[in-house]
């Protein structure tokens, strides 16, 4: 095990054994087979000490994704990762503001053209780009300008990956995902509302270790974390197989921890790692605390027909809204007319969650 990085770590008093342990936990975090630990150690040890630059752009979002990453409960690993990258621009976390902040972004883009990693959270308004701007630059222009020199683009959170809540019916801002707009670069999606912190960190670690994005599924998500459904990895799955379901949130079945399928759990159609990675430092996760999965890492989860409706229950087709959506491409004044049409269509097809839904 030789190379610039391990040499500099050894000089800082880190033993090779500590480093090997770190790589073993990193492999586990990245959902790689444990045998990958020693191989990763060799790859990382040989990495250059120059930290890869990262530019992080936040568009139509709630900052929950950044909160998720920074409130992570395993500081050692995330800190080591941030010691390994150079976060050149992140307008929530950086100390600089105003012109100095924008200059930092432009300087990093010029100095590292073709090499930096671009991370985006939030969706991009396209109906009128003035809906969301930073330093007078529209989200759309900033994304296109910054993406030009990026080695790869990572869309963090369901808004950046699929449009998310801004994209929810009737989508007044014409919100689009990063993948809708960037077509000439590798784009990886890390959806979730927010995504699991170790998943964000694990994917970054993969890029740093191997210099490439991990294997992706058909929705651009890393297979290591999104390869299986919540349902397939759920500890309550055996109850589903036995036909034991909670019928209400306070019945005997709920108390015994039976399957939440009939209470609207979207686990069977949701791909994410919550069931095994869990949340808050492995404390718990939604199903473990007695509530079904909302399906937040899937496209259009907000419009999937009610969080408390069982998957087997038919959802009324939102035909009027779909028809109006086809008009959305028209520019200028027509857009606002179309949006108004979409909005009234959405009001007509709106399906409120009633008390009966909750008391099923």
């Amino acid at each position: 095990m030789k190379g610039p990085l391990i040499d500099s770590l050894v000089q800082q008093g880190v033993s090779r054994r500590s480093f090997l342990k770190y790589c073993a936990t990193l492999a586990s975090m990245m959902a790689l087979p444990p045998a990958a630990g020693p191989a990763m150690a060799a790859a990382i040890a040989a990495a250059a000490t120059r930290r890869p630059p990262v530019i992080w752009l936040s568009f139509q979002e709630c900052t929950g994704c950044t909160e998720s990453l920074t409130r992570s409960h395993s500081p050692t690993i995330e800190t080591m990762i941030f010691d390994m990258i150079s976060l050149d621009y992140h307008h929530t976390l950086q100390a600089a503001s105003g012109e100095a902040a924008e200059r930092a972004r432009l300087e990093s883009m010029q100095a590292n053209f073709g090499k930096y990693l671009l991370i985006v959270d939030g969706s991009i308004p396209t109906a009128n780009t003035a809906y969301s701007t930073i330093a007078g630059i529209s989200n759309y222009d900033m994304l296109m300008e910054t993406a030009k020199g990026a080695a790869a683009v990572i869309a963090v959170g369901s808004c950046a990956a699929f449009g998310g809540i801004p994209h929810a019916n009737p989508n007044p801002t014409g919100a689009k995902s990063v993948g809708d707009l960037i077509t000439d670069k590798p784009v990886m999606n890390i959806p979730g509302c927010p995504p699991i912190p170790v998943v964000i960190a694990g994917v970054l670690a993969h890029f740093l270790t191997f210099g490439s994005l991990p294997e992706l599924d058909d929705k651009g998500r890393p297979k290591a974390f999104y390869g299986e459904t919540i349902h397939d990895r759920c500890y309550r799955r055996p109850f589903y197989d036995q036909g034991k379901f909670a019928k209400t949130f306070d019945d005997e079945g709920a108390r015994r921890g039976w399957c939440l399928f009939e209470l609207g759990c979207k686990g069977p159609v949701t791909h994410n790692a919550c069931a095994t990675t869990k949340w808050n430092g492995g404390t718990s996760w939604p199903v473990e605390s007695g509530h079904g999965c909302l399906g937040c890492s899937e496209p259009d989860f907000w419009d999937a027909g009610g969080f408390y409706k069982a998957l087997s229950m038919p959802v009324r087709p939102a035909t009027a809204a779909a028809a109006a959506a086809g008009v959305g491409a028209v520019a200028g004044l027509a857009v606002s007319v179309a949006n108004r049409a979409k909005k009234s269509a959405a009001i007509r097809t709106h399906q409120p969650t009633t008390l009966e839904d909750l008391e099923k």
Binding site: S28, M29, S74, G257, T276
Partner: protein
């Protein structure tokens, strides 16, 4: 209604889901491979749908063996041999004591235990440097 009036009922105890049993078959297959081909393997427990009862069940089935190693490397790690020689229960913690990952390793000796060759070389340099310095101890003789 005041908060005290809300009755608090302790959640039901975890029940074994049956997800741990197949792991014993995997461990048996890996042990066979260790004997036949000398290939070590590990199973990452944090990637598997085990509830606390499943984990306790597995721990109980595997039991505890003769060797238990504590590693102090950026946080404590414990590598404990189970009642089945060659099967180790490995827990890595960070400096705050949080569990980072739990593994079952199938190996004659877990690979983290052996001293890395380069660390041995660095250690030897340090020792030789210490020996080359003047010996101040009573009765000591300088080289």
């Amino acid at each position: 209604m005041p908060l005290e009036r809300i009755p608090v009922v302790a959640a039901a105890q975890w029940a074994v889901s049956g997800n741990a049993r197949p792991l014993l078959h995997e461990i048996a297959a890996q042990l066979r491979r260790l004997l036949d081909a000398g290939e070590a393997a590990s199973i990452d427990l944090s990637a598997l749908p085990l509830n606390p009862a499943d984990r306790d069940w597995l721990r109980e089935r595997l039991g505890s063996g003769e060797v238990s190693i504590t590693l102090d490397a950026e946080g404590e790690s414990t590598l404990a041999e189970t009642a089945f020689p060659g099967v180790w229960w490995v827990t890595h913690r960070n400096q705050r004591g949080d569990v980072l990952c739990e593994l079952i390793e199938i190996a004659f000796v877990p690979y983290l235990v052996g001293a890395p060759r380069d660390d041995v070389a660095t250690g030897l340099e340090r020792l030789e440097l210490a020996l080359s310095e003047p010996n101040d101890e009573p009765g000591g003789r300088n080289p």
